[in-house]
Every structure is written in structure tokens, then in C-alpha cells.
């Protein structure tokens, strides 16, 4: 009757409850948190060489953050009741905090930081531009048109202060997403105290890789030769984050294997029969080990810049494949075995419909469209380049 299911599963488990949309959700929030942390490296920790990607990282974070709640809304059985989570939250629920964490991060961190950072530019645009654009930028100034030395110093100080608040907020945002999964004690694949930390570091990896990639692509389309010092620094940070992330995941894996609890047999079956392609091949070999090797060779090998850039480019794409697989393996993987620990279930991906592949592609492309719009409105390049 259900030939694709093996062993015994509880009757209510034939339907898999969190599908592709919920895979996309942690992937998007991870990119937000990672991109912001990258931006803060420049601002708070004064890594001056990363200056060229600072604004791009902020805009990337904002674009992905805007799309992040969409998969959640589309997934709800009653989307019209979604705001009940804000009006009448159940305080004890990890999920109920999403709205507050999200609102805090969007309103108090990202929008404010971007506004303070761009305020001078916005004021200048509102004076230079003509027609509708002039009024549009004038509205964006929110009436604060003072660009005297003193006012700009205040902007800088405010921006720095927000970044300092922003780092723990970014940690909170994605650590929190990890907690949603890690705190489900009914599910041995999810239930791990390391989950929020693994999520956080994988977020940093994905965010840095995404901004890295976007930086190279935008430079390519603007016919600019990328700043190699900046790229090399990005590669270093990406490498460090990947090494930490991979070590944490291996620690989790070895810990489970060594403890060898009741669930170890079914989890072993899960990896061998259901997740071999997405975990061993896609996440570990293609998405982690290959790019780590690629970045090490490109960064520390004696290669011409052109070759180096190409290797960085390919590696950052592979990292995205790896991190998406990680999300898939956590979210879908955690539902591919029965809580009776006696059988494996199945997930059939649909093409059409709210949970379908087309919808997911749309949700993954949408942030780039939004980012393109943002870049047009608020060019993230240094002033000289824009002109």
C-alpha cells in the first residue's frame, strides 16, 4: 500500500508536516544573520579591508529578511490567524517569539543601521535628483537633512552603537531558529543542545559566502576588478567559519555515535537509506570539504588572481549548495523516520502548489529581486564609483 515506507511508522506519520517551505525558512534567516555579522566585522571590529562589502552585506541581509517570514506564512493552515502569535502569544512557546525577534531585528537593527549609514547619501540624492525621485529621497530622509560634520559624526556613532546591539541580535535570530528544532525532545535527530550553535555558525558561513558571491557578481557586471585584499580577507573569514561549523557538526555526530542511545539504529538507517545523497554527498563532500579545500588552495596557493577569483566563485556557490542541504537534512531529515523508531517515512516534493518547487524557487529568487531594487535606490558602492 505504501511501498516507499519501510518498517513500522505511526499511522499519523504518513503525512510529512514540514516540507520545502520550512527548509527555506532557516536558509533565509541564516543568510540574514551571516550577512549582518559580516557587515559588523567591518564596523565594530574595524576590519577596514572589508569596507567594499559593508553596505552590500547590509542590503543583502535586509532583502533576505523581508522574504524570510513568507515561507512561514504560506505554510500555515490558517495564515489569516498568523498575527495571533503577536497579539496573544503563548509565552512558553519558542515559535511564538518569532514575531518579536523578527520585528526587533528588522526595525531596531537593520533598518536603523542602514538609515544612519545612508542618511548622508539620501540627503544628497534628495538635493541632486529630479522629479519623483527627489521627493522619494526626501521622504527617506525622514526630515533629517542636516549633513554637517557634527550630524555625520552622530550618524557614525549611532551606526556603531546599533551594530554592537546588532551582533547579539543576529546571534539571537539564528540561534533562536536552531532552538525551535533543538528543543523538540520528541525528535532525536533534532533534540540537541548544539543545534542553535551549529545553526549559528552555518548561518555565518552561508551569509559570508553569499555576500562574497554577490560582491564578485556585482563587480563583474560593473566591469570593476575586484579588490583582491578584500576577497582574500573574505575567504579567510569564510574558511574559519566553515572549519568551526564543520567541527561542531562532527562533534554532534561523534557524540551521538558514542552515546549510542536507543535512536542510534534508526538514525543510522536514516543516513544510509534516506539522507546519503543530501547529507554525505551534497552537504559534506560537495558543500563542505570541496569548498574548504578550494578556498585553502585559492587563498594560500601560489595562483594568479584570475584563477583565485574563479576558485572563490565556485567555492562560494558550493557552500550555498552545502548549507541548503544542511537545512534540508535537518528539517526534512528529522521527519523521515518514525517516532516509533521502527521505520522510515518518505517525502515527495511537489512541483506546483504552495509547498511546491516552483513556489520555493520564487521565494529563493525574490530576495535577489528585492536586493536589485535596493541597490538601484541605495547604491552600496563608494561615492566615487557611483558617479
Amino acid at each position: 500500500m505504501h511501498p516507499v515506507f519501510s518498517g513500522y511508522i505511526y499511522p499519523n506519520e504518513y503525512e510529512l508536516h514540514w516540507g520545502l517551505l520550512i527548509v527555506i525558512y532557516p536558509y533565509l534567516t541564516g543568510l540574514v544573520a551571516g550577512a549582518f555579522i559580516l557587515a559588523s566585522l567591518n564596523r565594530t571590529f574595524n576590519v577596514k579591508v572589508l569596507e567594499p562589502v559593508y553596505r552590500l552585506a547590509l542590503l543583502t541581509a535586509l532583502s533576505f529578511l523581508i522574504v524570510a517570514p513568507l515561507p512561514l506564512f504560506s505554510h500555515l493552515g490558517h495564515p489569516e490567524r498568523a498575527l495571533e502569535m503577536l497579539w496573544t502569544p503563548h509565552i512558553g512557546s519558542a515559535m511564538a517569539m518569532f514575531g518579536f525577534v523578527y520585528a526587533w531585528y528588522l526595525l531596531m537593527v537593520l533598518l536603523l543601521e542602514i538609515w544612519f549609514d545612508y542618511r548622508k547619501d539620501i540627503v544628497i540624492y534628495s538635493q541632486e535628483k529630479k522629479g519623483v525621485a527627489k521627493y522619494f529621497y526626501r521622504i527617506l530622509t525622514l526630515g533629517a537633512t542636516d549633513i554637517s560634520e557634527e550630524a555625520l559624526r552622530f550618524d557614525d556613532r549611532a551606526g556603531k552603537f546599533i551594530t554592537i546591539i546588532g551582533i547579539p541580535s543576529a546571534f539571537l535570530l539564528h540561534g533562536y531558529v536552531g532552538f525551535i528544532f533543538g528543543s523538540v525532545k520528541a525528535n532525536p535527530w533534532w533534540s540537541s543542545v548544539l543545534m542553535p550553535i551549529v545553526f549559528l555558525f552555518s548561518a555565518i558561513v552561508s551569509g559570508i559566502a553569499m555576500v562574497f558571491l554577490l560582491h564578485m557578481i556585482t563587480d563583474m557586471f560593473r566591469w570593476k576588478t575586484p579588490n583582491m585584499a578584500c576577497l582574500n580577507k573574505l575567504a579567510e573569514f569564510l574558511l574559519y567559519a566553515m572549519l568551526i561549523d564543520f567541527s561542531l557538526e562532527m562533534l554532534d555526530f561523534i557524540h551521538r555515535l558514542y552515546e549510542s542511545e536507543e535512536s542510534i539504529h534508526i538514525l543510522g538507517d536514516l543516513i544510509q537509506n534516506r539522507l546519503f545523497l543530501s547529507l554525505i554527498i551534497s552537504q559534506i563532500v560537495v558543500g563542505t570539504l570541496t569548498p574548504i579545500l578550494g578556498i585553502i588552495v585559492a587563498r594560500f596557493g601560489n595562483l594568479p588572481d584570475e584563477m583565485r577569483r574563479m576558485m572563490y566563485f565556485l567555492s562560494t556557490i558550493l557552500v550555498q549548495v552545502g548549507i541548503f542541504s544542511t537545512r534540508w537534512n535537518v528539517v526534512v531529515g528529522g521527519q523521515l523516520f518514525s517516532k516509533s523508531l521502527r521505520g522510515l517515512t518518505m517525502y515527495k516534493v511537489q512541483v506546483l502548489g504552495l509547498e511546491g518547487i516552483l513556489m520555493c524557487i520564487f521565494l529563493l529568487v525574490l530576495p535577489f529581486i528585492i536586493l536589485y531594487t535596493f541597490i538601484k535606490i541605495l547604491p552600496p558602492w563608494p561615492h566615487a564609483e557611483t558617479k
Binding site: Y8, P11, R81, H90, I180, K339, R342
Partner: protein, 255 residues
Amino acid sequence: MIKESTSMTRREFLEICLKSFPLFVFFPTFWIDELLAFDAETYDPTKHNYAMGIDIDKCIGCGRCVAACKIENDVPKEQEYFRTWVERYVVSTDGETQVDSPNGGIDGFPVLNSDETILKSFFVPKLCNHCSNPPCVQVCPVGATFKSRDGVVLIDEKYCVGCRYCIQACPYGARYMHPEKHVADKCTMCYHRITKGKLPACVEVCPTKARIFGELGQQSSPILRFLRFNDTRTLKSELNTKPKIFYAGADGEVR
């Protein structure tokens, strides 16, 4: 004037009675039922603490409980949705355990081939464990699933947002997403019946009295007798969910 409007003469009273007589004659009986169900109005949930016992040795796997539950609670007929179901465990002499539950056991079970390698087999009815420390209630973002004061875990279907977090959090697979209502659904212990002093449908129809329903706080309750005279255990007790479905004679393999 005031006296006139509030008092009634004997003659007036008899007149009104006579005039309203046809109303009583044609009064639909279900209305009377409603009126007599005055108890429901005075039902005090704080005075109850419901629980259920399952006597594994008595269950014959006939699946009547599953069928009764589906009918009583309008559970979707498809075989992916159950508020209660029955599992069959077959333990072989080499210690291997096979479990099955074809269509939730609603039509009974296929006959086992007589085989000397079978050590034992038994049936295990399953349902929501109505935990005292329910993980589903903890994770619900809007509080749509809650523990009632009489110890039953319920879902407010007019409030559930359908995020399915509770389904993920339930270690027993007791919850499903209702395909038409798009909210989480599960066993309510037939709350509409028990608050009127009736038994849950599954308990009512069980031909062997394998399901024992009662109240933990009442000395005369069958559940206390069941707990007193049987070695019982709860499922997945290591998760500290504190279930209120107690199993007698359940092998350690049951989870």
C-alpha cells in the same frame, strides 16, 4: 401600578397555563434533553482528573475502538488520520520485534502464519496520552492547544493557526493535521461525552474491557482499581511527559 405588573391572579395563571399547553405538546424532545442536561451547566472541571488504563492482555485487536472513534468524532476516513489506533507486536524467539497496524487496526489484523519462531504477540491500543507535562501545549505559539482543568489536552480549532509545531513535538504520533479544517486534531477523550458522565466511545464499545476509563481523584473510580491491581507503565516516560494513559502488561518494546 407596580403591584399590578408584577403579581398575577390565580385565574390569570391558569389561563396562561392553558394557553401554553400546545407548546408543551409539540415541544421537540431534544429540547427537553437540552433542558435536562442541566448538569453540563453545573459541571465543575476542577473536580475531575481523567485518565485511562489499557489492559494489554485483554485487547484482542478487533479494532472496534478505532471504528467507534472515527464515527463518534468525525475523524477523516482516510488511513492517515487516527485519534486512536491499535498496533500489533510480534516478538520472535531471537528477540526481534515486528510491529504493524494496517489501517490503524480498524478492520482487525491479518492472521499470522503459525510459526515456531514467534515467541509472543500482543495488541497495543494507542491514543493521545493526555500528558500532565504536555510538550504539544508547551510549543503551541498561540495557546490553541491547552490542558483543561480536568486534565484533558484539548485543541481550540477556532484558534489554531495550523503551524504543526505541536505535531512535531508529540512523541507519540497522536496528532494529525485535519485535511478539511486545516488545524491540528487528536483524541479529546470524547470530551463532549465524559463531561456528561458518559464513557469515551472507544471505552464504551470495547468488547473485552481492555480500556478502563476513570478519574484519578476518586477512590471508587475503575481506573484506581486498575492501577492498584496491575503493574502499569506509561510510554516514553524518559521524556518526562507524565502521560495519563497507563498500560498494564505492555512489553518494554512498546513505545
